[in-house]
Amino acid sequence: MDSKLKRIYVPMTESGFYILFCLHEPQHGYGISQQVRHMTNGELIISAGTMYGTLSKMEKDGLISFVKETEKRKLYQITATGKEILELELHRIERLYKNSKGEIIHE
């Protein structure tokens, strides 16, 4: 994977993380925001402009790809590169969590 992508996306913003995570299934912008609202019990709200900007950027960087358009809504899905990035980010979060509980990582 491109080390430039790694530098940009790891660590990721909270919105970026949830958007990428939700795109394991094809979904459009507003659908993602509703899903995130539900998952986080309304604690994380991703607004329209942020959603649109993040999706455009992630598509340009090849983390997600356009699937199809239904009723003027663009559906996206995560790509192999996107999954790799998400995996790296998950690993990082896991380490943070374990360390915060006093665990030491042995690889």
Binding site: T13, G29, A48, G49, T50, K72
Partner: protein
């Protein structure tokens, strides 16, 4: 009934513009369209409605409007790369912003700077300023009038650029802080 109001906001005064439009709506005037510094309003019932401006400069695609509509934003008008949206506060469900993080706010600032302010700066340094120095050596007495006119324009230009520069720094600081 319609009315037109004249207001001047610079490229970095969009937050003031949003607040001003919200105030107008509270007084019963809703925005229909805007061009340059002319705002056309229509009489409406008094309501607290949030106005938001997005700067896309024609980079938006067809799904952009649908997404904003899904989020409950009513598209009003656009001018020179700026898009105007509104949403009644009553159905906002805590989502009163079009940007939910400062990274996207800073992205918009950068976009405005690169496509609006930077060209003005380049024109200023490469055309306005060199031309001014040519005018400074008047050959006919009547060139003096032109020199005076040019000086006034130059001062206006410098004033506007300085104001925009200070405002840009203020916004950057604000978005980086919280």
């Amino acid at each position: 009934m319609n009315k037109t109001m004249i207001r001047f906001f610079t490229i970095f005064d969009y937050e003031e513009e949003e607040n001003w439009l919200r105030e107008q709506h509270k007084k019963g005037w809703k925005l229909i369209k805007m061009k340059l510094c002319f705002y056309v309003f229509e009489k409406c019932t008094l309501e607290d409605v949030i106005y938001r401006l997005d700067y896309k400069n024609n980079t938006e695609n067809s799904s952009y409007y649908q997404m904003f509509q899904d989020y409950g934003w009513e598209y009003i008008s656009q001018w020179f790369g700026w898009l105007y949206f509104r949403k009644p506060l009553a159905n906002a469900e805590q989502d009163t912003e079009i940007f939910s993080d400062n990274i996207s706010r800073l992205d918009m600032l950068r976009h405005i700077y690169m496509t609006r302010m930077l060209p003005l700066l380049i024109i200023f340094l490469c055309c306005v300023l060199p031309n001014f120095f040519i005018f400074l050596k008047p050959e006919h007495p009547y060139d003096m009038i032109l020199t005076v006119m040019f000086s006034v324009l130059l001062l206006l230009y410098i004033g506007l650029l300085t104001y925009c520069g200070i405002k840009l720094q203020k916004l950057r600081k604000k978005y980086r802080k919280d």
